[in-house]
């Protein structure tokens, strides 16, 4: 089954999509129910980056100033009137009125975290492991 690619700005500007979470169904109306066979349905933002590939999941393919060796996976949900994108295994999130805003904030936060982890400050807790993980993901 094939679905035509849709500009993220197109669905982001759809008030039923961007403002009312449950109405995401209008953007995903052709998707099978969760648990059914996965169908690849990429949505693109204005820069033609894939933003949302399946409900509940979001992939960051590039950071503002760095490219990535492989996409960073995040969860995507609509809660209390805002979109939340939360990276898996990395303690950063993005939020916004649209999923695109949440994605872009998450990308900025990942880059900001990477810069913070490399500013020479001593790291405690799980930060050393997080820095190691990001070092594998970020293309230098």
């Amino acid at each position: 089954m094939y679905f035509e690619r849709q500009s993220a700005s197109a669905y982001a500007s759809d008030s039923s999509y961007s403002k009312q979470g449950p109405a995401i169904a209008s953007g995903w109306r052709n998707l099978p129910a969760v648990g059914a066979t996965a169908v690849h349905v990429p949505f693109l933002d204005d820069a033609q980056r894939v933003v949302v590939e399946r409900p509940g999941r979001l992939y960051v393919h590039a950071l503002p100033s760095y490219s990535l060796n492989r996409p960073i996976e995040a969860t995507l949900r609509f809660e209390d009137g805002e979109w939340i994108a939360e990276a898996l295994h990395i303690p950063v999130y993005g939020c916004g009125d649209t999923s695109v805003e949440a994605h872009d904030m998450l990308a900025r936060e990942l880059e900001s975290l990477w810069d913070d982890l490399n500013d020479g400050h001593a790291l405690g807790g799980d930060w050393v492991q997080t820095r190691r993980m990001l070092a594998r993901l970020i293309a230098h």
Binding site: E79, V92, Y93, C95, S112, L113, D116, G124, G125
Partner: protein, 95 residues
């Protein structure tokens, strides 16, 4: 649990005053909790989003290694630096 009556500015002020977190402002407001010279927690408070929504609130709590209830207590005063350090010790984030 969200905080309809609180806003991002209030949370930031509490973090600064009670946990000595220093924020730097870019597109978002990021701050790190430092203990014994080491960076332990890093929290992001979105700029330009006045109300604390449920999802954002929960993520900020998670970044500080707190539950939503404990983050509420941080805002409402029962939870101070001593209590916060206890939470971090129990969670194995500091010795």
């Amino acid at each position: 649990m969200g905080r309809e009556q609180s806003d991002t500015h209030e949370l930031r002020t509490r973090c600064e005053k009670k946990l000595n977190i220093e924020f730097r402002s870019g597109k978002e407001s990021n701050g790190c909790f430092v203990h014994a010279g080491r960076r332990i927690a890093r929290v992001t408070i979105p700029l330009g989003r006045k109300d604390l929504k449920v999802g954002t609130f929960g993520n900020m709590a998670k970044q500080l290694f707190l539950t939503n209830v404990q983050l509420n207590e941080l805002i409402d005063c029962p939870l101070g630096l001593t209590e916060y350090l206890d939470v971090l010790r129990k969670r194995g984030k500091i010795l």
